[in-house]
């Protein structure tokens, strides 16, 4: 095992973690402000990828397409909040799970009707294609470095927004003292509208970042949704800091697990047993981690309150 391999696996883990953070950040904000479980967050990630892919194809320019696509994602976020989500905020969790499950089915099928089932094209912008040599023996794809950079920038921006601005203060307060915030004369429903739409845009950004790496098809949000939920409950629902730490943790564990667990098992239990157990164990790893963390800290790493 070479240093280059280890370094590149660590980078891979970080980069997966950063994508997970982008998805989970919106989810945890929405949960924090309104105690709202949004299963449809995964389809917002999917929509983001589609919107950006279409805008890039339409404008022929990646940067312009990205901006347009994200604005569209933001606009869709507003529309969906007004049409559906605001009517679910004061329902219990069960109804939120159910209603947003319905939204998943509807949006996924609608996208399939428009774009078909086949994955659509979402190429890496030409200037960011290929890979660079970080140090001898380690070539790393430029786009993955871009994702890392964008993710860290967004994390910084969110930290600033949440900790240094009035709206951020309200978001933080809203997650713990909803009545107090209402008593201050803040319209919590309006706050939720903006947070929701912003979260939808963040999910869209994650979709756009992941788009060049993965298959952009109508069900792409399904798997990421579950992992994003794992991230926010491990981090403590409602906590941006928790989401960040947990996203990196899970990105690392997942990647390093896939990278090294099969080899590790091979040396422990032999080749044939490892061949079957290895992939199973590495796919289970994040769920094991979650169960372990929640059994010790039932409200996640940074969760103050039990939901």
């Amino acid at each position: 095992m070479t240093t280059a391999l280890i370094v590149s696996q660590v980078l891979n883990g970080l980069q997966l973690g950063v994508i997970l953070f982008l998805v989970a950040a919106g989810l945890t904000l929405v949960f924090g402000v309104m105690d709202f479980i949004n299963l449809a967050h995964g389809v917002q990630y999917m929509l983001g990828a589609y919107l950006v892919a279409v805008s890039v194809a339409f404008t022929g320019h990646f940067g312009l397409g990205l901006v347009l696509g994200l604005l569209a994602a933001l606009a869709l976020g507003f529309v969906m909040e007004i049409l559906v989500f605001r009517h679910l905020t004061r329902r219990d969790h069960l109804e939120q799970v159910l209603g947003t499950f319905g939204v998943i089915l509807i949006v996924t099928e609608a996208v399939r009707m428009i774009f078909g089932s086949a994955p659509i094209a979402f190429p890496v912008p030409a200037t960011l294609a290929g890979s660079v040599t970080l140090f001898p023996g380690l070539n790393y794809p430029v786009w993955r470095l871009v994702i890392l950079g964008v993710g860290i920038a967004v994390a910084g921006l969110l930290w600033f927004l949440v900790n240094r601005t009035r709206i951020g203060m309200l978001v933080r307060a809203g997650s713990t003292h909803r009545e107090t915030v209402s008593a201050l004369g803040v319209d919590i429903d309006r706050l939720f509208l903006f947070v929701f739409a912003f979260g939808a845009m963040l999910a869209g950004l994650a979709g756009a970042m992941a788009g060049p790496l993965v298959s952009v098809e109508p069900t792409m949000g399904d798997r990421i949704l579950i992992i994003a939920f794992v991230v926010i409950v491990v981090g403590g629902a409602g906590s941006i800091k928790g989401a960040f730490v947990a996203a990196l943790l899970i990105g690392m564990v997942d990647t390093l697990g896939r990278a090294f667990v099969p080899d590790l098992l091979k040396s422990l239990v032999g080749r044939s047993a490892a061949a079957t157990a290895g992939p199973a164990l590495s796919s289970m790893l994040i769920y094991l981690l979650m169960a372990a963390i929640l059994s010790v800290r039932p409200s996640g790493l940074f969760g103050g309150r039990t939901a």
């Binding site: 949960f31 105690d35 479980i37 559906v84 009517h87 679910l88 004061r90 329902r91 219990d92 969790h93 069960l94 109804e95 799970v97 159910l98 209603g99 499950f101 319905g102 939204v103 998943i104 089915l105 509807i106 949006v107 996924t108 099928e109 609608a110 399939r112 009707m113 579950i226 939920f229 794992v230 409950v233 629902a237 079957t276 157990a277 992939p279 199973a280 796919s283 289970m284 769920y287 094991l288 979650m290 169960a291 929640l294 059994s295 039932p298 409200s299 996640g300 969760g303 039990t306 939901a307």
Partner: protein, 323 residues
């Protein structure tokens, strides 16, 4: 639960028995009708409805009585199905052994994971149950001796000391309805008992129950295990009907659909889950015939049901339904 929602009416379990009996009669009548018309397909549909209703009833007990929203109920169901498959591979097909095995294995799983999951609340509980179900999914997918991700056909339907009593679809249908009736009535009985009263008290007001000296943990653990065991039996029946077992049985979408059934039919009464199962199975069927994009329709129905169960509508309907 949302602090702003009005306190929900608590189930009056005894009142549900009449409804349950009516539903069983309806299923049996549908089965008889299907056979009368020679529609073995219709009979299969009734069987499937009864099996899913069995799983949904057990989930309804968890949600409606214990207040525990499990998003991983497909896991014990799948374990029950795998119990049939695995036991069959070891030539164990006697139904008197297989059903208890399915119940036991699923209940044991529910007990073990529930013991950890019950440390959490609210959204954490929803997610940790999902996580455990995903783990089982991946374990099943790695069981290469039993088909791995593809799954495999069961050796044969369950027997009764060698007699292939489940070979005729009618027998399987009757067994499914009988077990559903037994489970529904058993759970109604349980809900009315002292245990059930305390379980609901814990759902309604955990703080008070603790202040009265009772930690509802064990009550809930029992509820989770019983519900898991029943779901396991449903899984065993499903394996017998389909004669094929695969990890896709444990797909999280099935967990979601079971919740849909419970809520659609109303979680106040266990019979609601039976109604919900009927509605979902038929909706699948009707929409699937109608369009390739049937999931769009299903989504609209679910969302509509959640959005438009407004107080006004209910008040209006309430006059007729509770009169």
């Amino acid at each position: 639960m949302s602090p702003l929602a009005p306190a929900p009416a608590v189930p009056r379990p005894r009142a549900g028995i009449g409804q349950t009996a009516a539903l069983m009669a309806l299923l049996a009548a549908a089965l008889a009708l299907a056979y009368g018309l020679g529609s073995s397909y219709g009979a299969g549909l009734v069987t499937r409805t009864a099996i899913l209703a069995l799983a949904a009833v057990s989930l309804s007990f968890l949600i409606g009585q214990a207040g525990l929203v499990s998003f991983g109920h497909a896991a014990p169901l799948g374990i029950g199905a795998y119990a049939v498959l695995i036991a069959g591979e070891y030539d164990m097909t006697n139904i008197l052994a297989v059903l208890p095995l399915a119940f036991g294995a699923a209940a044991l799983f529910a007990l073990a994971t529930g013991a950890i999951a019950l440390r959490t609340r609210g959204v954490y509980f929803i997610m940790i149950t999902l996580a455990f179900a995903q783990m089982v999914f991946y374990v099943a997918a790695s069981l290469s001796a039993f088909g791995g991700d593809d799954g495999m056909a069961i050796a044969a339907r369950s027997t009764f000391f060698g007699a292939r009593i489940l070979k005729p679809d009618l027998h399987l249908a009757l067994l499914a309805i009988a077990l559903l009736a037994a489970a529904a009535l058993g759970l109604e009985h349980l809900a009315a008992s002292r245990y059930g009263l305390m379980l609901r008290a814990g759902r309604e007001n955990e703080t008070k129950l603790e202040a009265l000296g009772l930690d509802p943990y064990r009550h809930r653990l029992i509820a989770i295990s019983v519900a898991g065991g029943i779901a396991g039996v449903a899984g065993a029946l499903l394996a017998n009907q389909v004669e094929y077992v695969s990890p896709s049985t444990m797909n999280w979408h099935l967990s979601g659909e079971l919740i849909v059934m419970v809520v659609l039919g109303g979680s106040r009464r266990l019979g609601g889950a039976v109604i919900g199962a009927m509605v979902v199975v038929l909706l699948d069927e009707a929409l699937g015939r109608f369009t390739e994009h049937w999931k769009l329709g299903l989504g609209l129905v679910i969302l509509g049901a959640v959005l438009f169960r407004g107080a006004e509508v209910r008040a209006l309907l309430g006059k007729f339904s509770h009169g």
